[in-house]
Symmetry: C2
Amino acid sequence: MTKLLNDRFLRALHRQPVDRTPVWIMRQAGRYMPEYKSLRSRVGDFLTLCKTPEFACEATLLPLQRFDLDAAILFSDILMIPEAMGMGLSFVAEEGPKFSSVITAASDINKLPCLDPEDDLSYISAAIRLIVKNLNNSVPLIGFAGSPWTVATYMVEGQTSKQFYKIKGLMYQEPRLLHQLLAHMTIETTKALQAQINAGVNAVMMFDTWGGILNDALYKEFSLRYMAEIVANLKSDNPTIPIILFSKNSGRCLTEQAATGCDALGLDWTVNLAKARELVGDKVALQGNLDPCVLYASKQRIAVETKAVLEQYGSGPGHIFNLGHGIPLDVDPDNVQVILDVVKGVTWR
Amino acid sequence: MTKLLNDRFLRALHRQPVDRTPVWIMRQAGRYMPEYKSLRSRVGDFLTLCKTPEFACEATLLPLQRFDLDAAILFSDILMIPEAMGMGLSFVAEEGPKFSSVITAASDINKLPCLDPEDDLSYISAAIRLIVKNLNNSVPLIGFAGSPWTVATYMVEGQTSKQFYKIKGLMYQEPRLLHQLLAHMTIETTKALQAQINAGVNAVMMFDTWGGILNDALYKEFSLRYMAEIVANLKSDNPTIPIILFSKNSGRCLTEQAATGCDALGLDWTVNLAKARELVGDKVALQGNLDPCVLYASKQRIAVETKAVLEQYGSGPGHIFNLGHGIPLDVDPDNVQVILDVVKGVTWR
């Protein structure tokens, strides 16, 4: 692999010294950017944007044209795997994702196809190759997938949920059936991430947005276990690829997350970075965790809160600055610049 | 006060020995009961049910006619205080509560009236008197209110929220304004709970459904602090009234919750009861915390999970069995009976 001009992000993932804390922003290509809104109105719907390599590449690069970020992240969606399985995904304005078919019985799971990512998700590989070419070794590119549990919540609920009655009902009623679904998604997610690695991403992140709705024992059984399998699968074939796990609202299980063999943990804003660091020691790097809503505050307050996150982590390597969740769609992009300015003013050697 | 025939719940709140763990079910009068659905279709809308003492009384008593529960809880809603303030509350099917006016500026807060609960919420006092009379000293009656923070989220967002961008934006942009709103709601909530005590409730519970969306420091500043004020206010005038605090997703701050002077903490299903007990020691009783979705499982599994909760608490006084959140609207009422059977089969002396 050719050396990157800016490898701060990768060095921090490996807990190596860096000249300053690297920074990127979850959902950095998003509706808070006028450039993104204009791309969206040109393209039309969100799925077309994800499925057209040229558009996905353009969206991926937009935030890097405006901001001096230390990583790019593939523009895509965690639901592209079930979409490719033919579950009929659509995005309804203001309502989020909807599947036209949902998983309710064993027969639905048995019918789920085994994907060939190079074919069924070929637009992702093509987008990655295009992005890598355009990045021209400037910064690393992050690939990603949803965790099997999180993606399964959408496949079973059919949409975003508040109480997750359907998937939790299934979990308590027919745990073996749910395990069958999760095992299938684990294989498919491994293949999809391997294809992203083959196409050229420099790191991968797994988003487990809904692991935190489970108690610790069930989180380990139904979510963490499958993420750990994916980590092990990927590491055995790609020992040097850095892997980040992000389980929202799961600050109770950081030690167990760190034991999966991943390289870094993403943390939401409810986790105390100093305490998290104490817990995980030098096992993993930590990524996060400014409350995205801080971006609604005055520039002065944003600077104070950004500094507070840096200070909570403290000195020494292994921190990647980020928000604790995706950036809201209606914040002022100039406020993002405040974060970058503050992070860049602080030198951790 | 006349002695209650069944005072298990109150004894457990005071951490006194009981013949067995007392049990009640959050949202025990709810749509999972055919009797409740028939009452609702007779009454029409939810607000009429809450605001008509005879109906509220009937709803409160329904679950006690079917199940041998150790406490009744007033049938009402945490949004009745802002409703009485004239914010235009309505309940839209499938969508939850909506306010026709919302808090966006200082002028909105300055306009909020000071209520006289005996007048503006007189239907609640009337319902309580009627319920107490009908209960005829059989079991205690629980009164309740939302926490200032949780009720404020609805007043600012105008409805149920997923990301709470508006109230969190306000919190970071104009913290003093939000504090002004919370201080006002603290006074009004204290008065409303005092009126419930005057009318005859035997215990009060504060529901802080959304405290857990804040990091620890902000939870203490914007949610817990105001609940602590209400506890102090109520305790100074009613030293023997037991008070339960329930902050969902706030298992990180149990020690601080226990230090408010309340008598018990409600726990959601993500908290480990044994660890919680270790943390709070003999300071408070603990209420909870079966995952409501367990009620979707087989009767055998429900029994196993119910036993597991009892065992996680262990022996000794101070446990009130409950769900970790409200009961889902579509579970089989016979499954609730399984919980009660198991709790009653186990004797903790």
